[in-house]
Structures are given as structure tokens and as C-alpha cells.
Symmetry: C2
């Protein structure tokens, strides 16, 4: 951040009075520009034991596999965001279930939240952000070609819980943005 | 948003190619400025059956009561943010427990996440953002003077679950920012 989004004049990085951390503050109008983590919402969609995976058509990690997930928009819930991403990336209608995982990508300033989900019917397709979309058995998950560590975490916990007959909520944190 | 935070030139609100929603786009350098919900993290700190509440010294809702909560910072986890807010607002060390509630304040573009928590010792005080801090029994919670509807939601679910001997995760959404 170089300029104030309110008045267009330069900002500088300073600790505001009463605060603990440096913030971008406008030298002209005094607006304090706080920067906070962004939410990514996704789901693990299941149909008769198989999981829906998408191969990314966009960077970062083009060509790698992912569960449907993306940045949450203003005005929607986490569950609505997760369901919307399934529509956009896999043309799939899902019913969102329990919260599965919260993954903190600390250096990327992101919090990834994944839900369990169920395809409402066995219909899906290749959305504009995907190269390929398919249902896979657990044994066929391309673990070495999963795009992001949060997706690996969500899928591993999903399968472990399913095998154990439980639906827990799992937390993780990593420093780096991608593996 | 009126100006580009990268180059300082005016932005206009347009739908970028391939997108579904209008974004602020710089007319000069082309940067797309996405706006996303902000995370608020808080906890319900308990000590021997009593709950720690803070009376707000700052706007909005100055003079009203709240559980410790505030905007999450970059580089921390939700649990670390919730624990930090207890230190800042109530000078209290807490041990964060299970996730209690996710409250979507849709029009405010905020997601509030609350955890169960336990004071590690019966020590607390009045932080710079508080007028007063105290431990209260459930029957003494000043329900009509709780600052935000998300706090009411978290406290109600906390007590209901405690009475039932369970620790569920609860979801809610409201359109408006404050009651």
C-alpha cells in the first residue's frame, strides 16, 4: 500500500496512538488502513463415497488438483461461499454439512475454512476456472498433485474421520503460503 | 474506495472480465481491489462457573457489555486472536477451548468467531478499551446491555450447551451490523 484509498495522498507505516502494531496511515486525511486476514471457503463434496476434485485452470498451481474453494465475498455466509465455489468451479450443486477444518496460512494472511458436503445429484462439469473435474475414490486421490497444503489437510482429515465414523473439526497452521 | 492504493490514481467500480461482481479497478494501473469480509475473534472466558465480561470504553456501543473480542490481525490464528483480545480488554490469560459460534454480520461484512475459554487463574483487570471488567453468574448477565447481537448469540448458546453437557458449534447470520 502506497496511497490512501480515500483521498489519494501518500500513506506511511506508523503505530497509531493506543495501538500496538504499525498501520498504513494517510499523511493527509489521517485515515488508518487496517489489513486483516482473508477468508477462503471450500468443501469436500461426496457422492456415494467418491470425492469431487477439480484441476485448476488458473494460477497459482495451474494443472494441480483441488477441492472447490475460493475467496469469500462480502454479504455471504461461509456455507454460501463454499457452495458457490462448487457451482463456479465444478458446476455442482452441494448440500453443505459440518465444518471440517480451519487452516491458517499465516504468511499468506489467509484463513481457509472447509466443510463436509454432499452432491445433491451426480451432475457436475468443468467450470471456467477448471481444466477437468472428476469423482475419485479415496485410493485414487492424486496426493502429490494437490494444489495447496490446506486441501491436503482437509482431505486427509475428511477420510480419517469418515473411516472412524465421526465428524470432528480440525485446526492447522503453516507459516508459508504454499508447499 | 476512491483511489488506487498502489498508484494513487482514481478507481471505478466495474465487473472485471471473467468475474461476476463489480470491483474497484484502477483506471491507471489496472489493479483490481477486492473487498472481503473481516474476521472478528472472541471467546467466552469461564472461571468456576462465572463468565468474564467487559464494559466497552470505546465506540461503537460504549458503556455496553461484551465478551472479549476484536479484529483478527495478519499472522495470527483465530485462537491466538481470541486469547490476545482477552489480554488486551481484560488483562486476562485464557486457555482457548472448542469453537462455540460463527456469526455472520452480512451487512457489516464481518464474520465473528467465538471459542469457549477458561481463565488460567482468577486474575483480570481493566484494559485500555474497557471501563469495567467482572466475573458474572449466568443469572446476572445484563442481557439488555450486551453490546452486539453476536455476543448475545454466543453467550446464549454457551449457557444452553453447558446446561446440556455438550459443546456444539453454532451458526447464525444477520443482515444488519448492530441491533
Amino acid at each position: 500500500m502506497n496511497f490512501c484509498s480515500k483521498c489519494g495522498q501518500p500513506v506511511s507505516l506508523r503505530v497509531p496512538p493506543g495501538d500496538q502494531l504499525p498501520r498504513f496511515i494517510c499523511d493527509n486525511c489521517g485515515t488508518i488502513h487496517y489489513e486483516n486476514p482473508k477468508l477462503v471457503a471450500g468443501c469436500v463434496p461426496e457422492w456415494q463415497g467418491q470425492i469431487l476434485l477439480c484441476r485448476r485452470a488458473i494460477e497459482p498451481r495451474r494443472g494441480f488438483w483441488t477441492v472447490p474453494a475460493g475467496f469469500m465475498e462480502n454479504g455471504e455466509t461461509l456455507m454460501a461461499a463454499a457452495a458457490r465455489e462448487a457451482v463456479e468451479e465444478a458446476l455442482a450443486e452441494v448440500e453443505i454439512g459440518s465444518m471440517l477444518a480451519v487452516f491458517h496460512a499465516l504468511r499468506a494472511h489467509q484463513v481457509h475454512v472447509f466443510f463436509r458436503a454432499r452432491l445433491t445429484e451426480p451432475r457436475f462439469g468443468v467450470g471456467p476456472e477448471s481444466l477437468e473435474v472428476k469423482l475419485v475414490e479415496e485410493r485414487d486421490v492424486p496426493w502429490d498433485e494437490i494444489a495447496f497444503p490446506s486441501g491436503v489437510f482437509a482431505l486427509r482429515r475428511y477420510f480419517a474421520d469418515r473411516a472412524a465414523g465421526r465428524e470432528d473439526l480440525h485446526f492447522a497452521e503453516v507459516e508459508r503460503a504454499a508447499r
